[in-house]
């Protein structure tokens, strides 16, 4: 039985006791899957499993507070569920986690670029097949094959958790770990290579086109303040309505700092950005810092206390300045 069929079977069994089960289904075209809310048995057959399941369904869990829901997760998504549990933002008794091994998902922006290089538009995608390590997209009658490794999301290239960290129903064989030690993150390496003033210019360049839609925030499973975000509060007045790089970047700093020690690097902020702004780099940098300082990784241990919610009398890695 395929992973997908096995998932469907387990979901059908559990559905009667659940408000809904959140997963993925086919979207408006062959290249896009979209979140699915299974509320009846007929919906179960719409479920998809594979490289186009790019969204992190954990984002919806806090909105179902008090109701028992199921969620289908990839390994990376499961870390968000764990982090939500760590912070007691959802109740373990009210979530049933379905999962299977994940072989990686695509980054649609990369597929778009590949098609563009072949003189085609992602907006004309007609058919997508993922066969082992190859993705083939047919657009405007022409088929273009691309290695999954070249169009996979960055996170997949360095994936440590192809299998869920926590699951109630894990079906099929576990997916193999990414071979070899994960290489250093290319985004961080590029930013590291810049001078400090160049980085200022970098953010000035990218943030300029931000439209302040807050897709980065709303797609983030850890941004649980939702309707009460300080970005839209007048008291305190953290951000003004001026259309300036200062205000736009300041929001990214708010988002990143509020995720310090909590971000599982699912990449939804950047994937959701309609303007292709590389906002994930800020969180990657913070995660590296958190790891260096506190040897901590978010969303892998339900019992762990996030590092900024605890302290040591003598910190191991903080060298205070002497005057």
């Amino acid at each position: 039985m395929s992973r997908l069929d096995a998932l469907k079977t387990r979901i059908k069994e559990a559905l009667p006791g659940l408000e809904c089960v959140i997963g993925w289904q086919k979207g408006y075209d062959a290249l896009h899957n979209t979140p699915l809310f299974i509320r009846g048995e007929a919906d179960v057959d719409k479920l998809e499993w594979g490289a186009l399941n790019v969204h992190n369904p954990a984002v919806y869990l806090p909105s179902f507070a008090g109701k028992k829901v199921g969620v289908v997760v990839k390994g990376c998504d499961s870390r968000s569920v764990v982090e939500l549990l760590q912070e007691k933002l959802i109740d373990r008794d009210n979530v049933v986690i379905f999962s299977a091994g994940c072989d990686g998902v695509v980054d649609i922006a990369k597929v778009r670029a590949k098609l563009a290089a072949a003189g085609l538009s992602a907006g004309n995608a007609e058919k997508v097949t993922v066969d082992g390590k190859t993705v083939t997209v047919t657009a405007a009658g022409k088929a273009v094959s691309m290695p999954l490794a070249e169009v996979a999301a960055d996170k997949c290239l360095r994936c440590q958790f192809p299998n869920a960290v926590l699951a109630d129903a894990f079906v099929g064989d576990p997916a193999p770990q990414v071979q070899a030690a994960p290489a250093a993150d290319a985004d961080l390496a590029a930013l590291d290579a810049m001078s400090v003033p160049e980085r200022m210019a970098f953010w000035r360049y990218h943030m300029d086109r931000c439209i302040r839609c807050y897709a980065c925030r709303n797609a983030c499973p850890m941004c649980v303040c939702r309707d009460h975000c300080i970005a839209q509060s007048r008291e305190p007045h953290w951000l003004s309505q001026e259309d300036s790089v200062t205000e736009k970047l300041m929001f990214q700093v708010v988002h990143a700092m509020h995720l310090a020690g909590r971000c599982t690097e699912c990449g939804e902020c950047q994937r959701a950005c309609p303007m292709d702004i590389p906002v994930l780099a800020l969180k990657k940098h913070l995660n590296r810092t958190i790891h260096d300082l506190f040897n901590y990784q978010a969303g892998v241990d339900v019992a762990a206390i996030p590092p900024l919610l605890q302290f040591k009398l003598e910190e191991d890695n903080i060298k205070e300045r002497s005057w």
Partner: protein
């Protein structure tokens, strides 16, 4: 606020009420010579300082930010400064990725009796900021540098395209 152009820079200090604000007061009462660039904001505890206070201050153009609280184990609220230490260290390491020189921000501990230590901290930090000069804001990046960085970005979603 009027700034003595070319002489003073805009340095903002966040000082805890119980130790460092007292330390600054001690330095003042003792008539210790101090640079005058620092504008002090008194907060209840270093643990009350949201790192975003500092980030916002710097992003909006302050030339430097100094935070000072009670020495570890001496916090008036027992452990506020322990939490602060973690947050402030994370922030200090975060600033360079934004394009802000981490030397524009420092945090330290000064007790109410340490007037001389306060004098030293303020003097050293102010000199450090003067060595860096006035801060550039993201809005005011030079067109040349902007063009250089923009041309290095080949497009696509990636930082390192």
């Amino acid at each position: 606020m009027p700034v003595l152009t070319g002489k003073e820079l805009r340095i903002v200090g966040f000082l805890c009420n119980w130790c460092s604000y007292g330390g600054a007061d001690t330095a003042g009462v003792g008539r210790f010579n101090q640079p005058t660039d620092l504008r002090i904001i008194r907060v209840p505890c270093s643990g009350r300082i949201d790192p975003l206070f500092i980030a916002k201050t710097l992003i909006n153009g302050a030339d430097g930010v100094l935070v000072s609280g009670c020495h570890p184990r001496d916090c008036h609220y027992a452990e506020g400064n322990f939490y602060a230490r973690r947050r402030l260290e994370v922030l200090k390491r975060f600033l360079p990725i934004l394009g802000i020189d981490p030397a524009r921000f420092d945090y330290t501990w000064v007790s109410a009796s340490e007037g001389q230590r306060w004098q030293k901290v303020v003097t050293v930090f102010t000199e450090q900021i003067h060595a860096l000069g006035p801060a550039t804001r993201h809005e005011n990046v030079s067109p040349e540098l902007l063009a250089k960085v923009a041309s290095a970005i080949q497009g696509g979603n990636r930082v390192a395209a």
